[in-house]
Symmetry: C2
Subunit: 119 residues, 2 copies
């Protein structure tokens, strides 16, 4: 069972966290057969935390979890904080594959998406 | 002459600002006939500022400028700060159309892009 965990920074502004939850709902609707489970988690300031989000996926039956950082640049959060949070859960669940994929800002199709928004 | 101005937050980390400049180069390469000019600007912590970026577009001949906030959520920066910076330049140049388009996080194709990154 494969799960997608969208990881956002988290905000003091509840509406920003709700935007992430709404985006996660859309991801779930559009995931089709690609993911059995789609959830979100937050690095800070909102719930669930990244370890709790991973745990939710595992409790729901996931054996393969893709963690996708919803971040635009490769700062400390992407380079250090998220991998660190993930590695703790990986050690706890050696039978579960937990992979951190590229952060959003690296998407190859980002220029095309931006051009379509501006045109 | 139509210009696209990608507006990012700006970072103390030079590499993050350079990521924006590299993305702007890709946008310029892929813009084809849609935009005659593609530039970037920063809300804070990096140069050029938003007013300076708009001024550069105008000096290069732009009469129609699309300002695209490279932001993931509709916080104060997107809702207030960017429109405020833009409205000052609009008042200075009444003959130039300056439009702020949707911020990145609102992109309709965002779920599809994220699914393709995670699959």
């Amino acid at each position: 069972m494969t799960a997608l965990l969208l990881v956002a920074h988290g905000s003091r502004r509840a509406a920003s966290n709700d935007e992430i939850r709404a985006l996660t709902d859309k991801l779930r609707e559009q995931a089709g057969a690609r993911f059995d489970d789609v959830r979100c988690a937050f690095l800070e300031l909102a719930e669930p935390s990244i370890p709790d989000g991973i745990e939710q996926c595992i409790q729901a039956g996931a054996t393969d979890i893709r963690v996708l950082p919803y971040f635009l640049s490769a700062g400390r959060h992407v380079a250090e904080d998220i991998p660190e949070e993930v590695s703790g859960k990986r050690a706890e669940h050696p039978g579960v594959r937990i992979e951190v994929v590229s952060y959003l800002g690296l998407a190859e199709s980002m220029p095309a998406l931006l051009l379509s928004m501006a045109s």
